[in-house]
């Protein structure tokens, strides 16, 4: 069937396509500019800190030249930390944007589904019941978990339990957004109650360890952790990008999407599974980092609109940018002490979110 056969010459070739090209170009410019900003911010965040390093030295070290001590600081501490911020920022943000579409709710975020609450419960369980958390205070600054791997593993297990409960209920009740959101709310309060119960019986050392774990901190990851996070983030990101047309269709309404041949229930279920997995990894390794998954997609929406072809990649960029800048600020603010980035994301995220809301509803 050729609907346009022989009618092409009627088209005013110049008007519409040109305007559309200009409109697309604006979105692409936004992404190019953000990519450049992200790169510059990466260099900056590596350069600044307790010991300031010159930009030439940073570049030299990154390209593999040996610049003495500086190389060690960059390769062992600052680079993995900065990259962890970018990778987890991308992961949380892209999961957020997908969930906002899947759940048909602008408040959707990786934490809507209760995954982080389950992880926090897992960490508390590990510290208090399994005893992974007798702290030792390292002279320099922070408390450290005595057995971080076990805490991470248990936190991850509980996020997976939450994910499977969620999927089971969604499957049973045909994966409607309302059911998923309400299940998420129920799971979140269930696990929060569980955590409170455990904390009630904990001694103050354990309590401190649990609270410490909850403050999300990208400084916790080493190269190995970063490797795992990257190995989860990249396939998830690719998965969401491959589904961009499906999300566009779902945004147009379930019936329209079905009419366009989208298996709406299946897309919802899988999207939720991938987003939950992504979140579970980030939370288990780094702790709870709030607001990134909620705010970054909305920042991206301001610039590129709701069209998923552009929104998904733009959200990745805003996610990386926001978390890296928050972490850089968290390191510098109270130097030589380094704040966990989670404290800053909430401080930066909430006002930013309110600003977007007020700006957005003006007209």
């Amino acid at each position: 069937m050729e609907f346009i056969e022989g009618k092409m010459d009627e088209l005013k070739e110049d008007t519409l396509p040109l305007a559309y090209t200009g409109y697309i170009r604006k979105k692409i410019s936004f992404m190019i500019i953000s990519s450049i900003l992200l790169f510059l911010l990466l260099i900056y965040s590596i350069a600044v800190g307790a010991a300031n390093i010159s930009f030439t030295n940073v570049m030299a070290a990154l390209f593999g030249y040996d610049v003495g001590n500086v190389s060690t600081i960059i390769w062992n501490i600052r680079l993995p930390r900065a990259l962890t911020a970018i990778v987890s920022g991308i992961g949380l943000s892209v999961a957020g944007v997908a969930l906002q579409s899947i759940l048909r709710n602008p408040l959707g975020s990786p934490y809507t589904l209760g995954i982080s609450h389950a992880a926090a419960f897992g960490a508390a369980f590990s510290v208090i019941v399994l005893g992974s958390g007798s702290m030792r205070s390292t002279g320099a600054d922070a408390v450290m978990l005595n057995n971080p791997y076990m805490t991470t593993a248990v936190a991850f297990c509980f996020s997976m339990i939450a994910t499977f409960i969620l999927i089971a209920i969604a499957r049973y009740r045909s994966a409607s957004p309302e059911v998923m959101i309400l299940t998420g709310v129920a799971l979140a309060s269930l696990f929060t109650a569980g955590t409170m119960f455990l904390q009630y019986f904990a001694d103050d050392v354990q309590l401190a360890a649990v609270v410490f774990w909850t403050f999300g901190d990208v400084g916790r990851a080493d190269w190995g952790d970063l490797g795992i996070l990257t190995a989860v983030t990249i396939p998830s990101m690719v998965y969401f990008l491959l589904n961009r047309w499906n999300y566009n269709a779902i945004d147009a309404g379930d019936e329209t999407a079905k009419g366009l041949g989208v298996n709406v229930e299946k897309v919802r279920l899988w999207g939720m599974l991938v987003a939950s997995l992504m979140t579970a990894f980030v939370v288990a390794f780094l702790g709870v980092i709030g607001f990134v998954g909620l705010v970054c997609p909305h920042i991206a929406r301001k610039f590129v609109g709701d069209e998923q072809r552009f929104l998904l990649p733009a959200s990745c960029l805003t996610g990386g940018l926001l978390l890296l800048s928050a972490d850089t600020a968290a390191r510098l603010m109270l130097a030589p002490h380094e704040l966990p980035v989670a404290i800053l994301t909430a401080f930066m995220g909430a006002p930013l979110f309110l600003y977007l809301l007020i700006r957005g509803y003006q007209h």
């Binding site: 088209l11 945004d251 709701d306």
Partner: protein
């Protein structure tokens, strides 16, 4: 083109449609008429396999659609539901979405050409770069119809496509739909409440009553008895300027 045989459908235990039989030839427009809640929208969803029917078969262009993959159905059937949602995306992008069943990894030049030609045809060019969440109900309805047209379907299913259009737009949209149907030898099934509008643009009519087809045929079936039986309203049917019109006798 379209052949529906023995179609039946229930929502859980509530019986909605039973033993629906009808056929439609290429180039024909069929109007589905009937009171609220009789199952007009349900019938369209069944044909589209969104609600797979409990019984019966549906053939489009000689193929049994119930055995086709979802995206294969979408290549053959374009569906405009009674309601759709609007995000912050341009009308152009919203219409481009109609190419989804045909899009592989990325949009091709051809997809843009088709979108542009439909935009011109429906005179949506002034709206093309406006955000659809800032549009009026009627503008949005035209965008949704454009989206179904760029699917290049063999069968168009339109659920009350003119319900929020002004007088001129009602005529324009239906004229365009009819022209697309005639030019491309495809078919359209349209549910409507405005019988007079249906009488101007449709070739065939089906009146639904209590889950069954009450009457099926051309203009000739639109007579006072049918209207009385289906809607419970006594009406006069007359010819005016060459069109059959239905005027209720009550106040």
């Amino acid at each position: 083109m379209l052949n529906v045989e023995g179609l039946g459908f229930n929502y859980k235990t509530r019986k909605v449609l039973e033993q629906i039989h009808f056929g439609l030839k290429p180039g024909e427009v069929l109007a589905i008429l009937g009171p609220n809640g009789v199952g007009k929208s349900t019938l369209l969803r069944c044909i589209n396999t969104i609600h797979p029917p409990a019984t019966g078969t549906i053939f489009v262009d000689g193929e049994e659609v119930l055995s086709l993959e979802k995206h294969e159905v979408a290549k053959r059937i374009g569906y405009v539901p009674q309601r759709s949602e609007a995000g912050k995306l341009t009308a152009y992008d919203a219409i481009l979405l109609g190419r989804k069943p045909h899009i592989g990894w990325n949009i091709k030049e051809k997809d843009h050409k088709i979108v542009e030609s439909i935009i011109m045809k429906l005179e949506l060019d002034k709206l093309a770069l406006r955000y659809i969440n800032e549009m009026s109900g009627g503008e949005l309805q035209r965008v949704a119809i454009a989206r179904a047209l760029v699917q290049e379907p063999k069968l168009l299913l339109l659920d009350e496509p003119t319900s929020s259009l002004d007088l001129k737009k009602q005529l324009e949209i239906l004229r365009t739909v009819r022209q697309v149907v005639k030019d491309n030898r495809v078919s359209a099934v349209i549910t409507m409440h405005d019988i007079n509008l249906a009488l101007r643009f449709a070739d065939r009519y089906i009146f639904l009553k209590d889950g069954n087809i009450f009457a099926h045929g051309g203009h000739e079936i639109v007579v006072p008895e049918t209207i009385e039986q289906v809607y419970g309203v006594s009406a006069t049917v007359e010819e005016l300027n060459g069109f059959r019109i239905v005027v209720p006798n009550e106040e």
